[in-house]
Symmetry: C2
């Protein structure tokens, strides 16, 4: 079996990569909120931290009692217990959402590499 899996770019549609890429340490999706819409609920996580990367557009996260503006190129990490809801602004927003289990990484880069 090959040691890699590829997913090519598709315009528009939501992309769920966990199964397509045979991921075992993360759940990754690409999502678009059209202009002036929102994820329809506020939620937290039991054990996963989330990291968002904004591909294009901008939006506002309501996290606990804060409003956090995010735009193209920004990253945001939200701890499992953060209560979150994402709203798009006038342009809509396309973003990558990464879920990983909190405290699951043991080592990385030089310590984990075999050169």
């Amino acid at each position: 079996m090959k040691n890699y899996t590829v997913v090519k770019k598709k315009e528009g549609a939501r992309i769920e990569l966990h199964d397509k890429l045979s991921l075992t340490g993360a759940k990754i999706s690409v999502n678009t909120l059209m202009a002036k819409t929102c994820v329809p609920f506020s939620y937290s996580h039991k054990e996963n931290e989330e990291i968002y990367y904004v591909i294009s557009g901008d939006g506002t996260f309501v996290i606990d009692n804060d409003k956090v503006e995010i735009k193209e190129g920004d990253f945001i990490k939200i701890a499992p217990r953060g209560k979150r809801q994402l709203f798009s602004n006038e342009k809509g927003i396309t973003y990558i959402c990464i879920q990983v289990r909190e405290n699951s990484l043991n080592q990385y880069t030089a310590k984990d590499a075999l050169i």
Copy 2:
């Protein structure tokens, strides 16, 4: 302490997000290879799978005995044992690299959410 951490876009420089975002389940970086350059060695990992997302440009991964072309918008996952080396093409390549521990994700999305 706030339940979130933000990193705003910066042009050009390599961005290491593990410490900046207080990540505990992933190591994430944004990297650029200028035109016709490469990561200077081929390597595998002990326990981490890697996921790459191409922000712009294109390149060629040499993985084990295969050549895999990747370009803007593509995702690729490489299992820990895959021996990999990334080469840029004429345009250079800017990409996100995500390291997570193989088999570390227990549950996700609906099963892990608290609404």
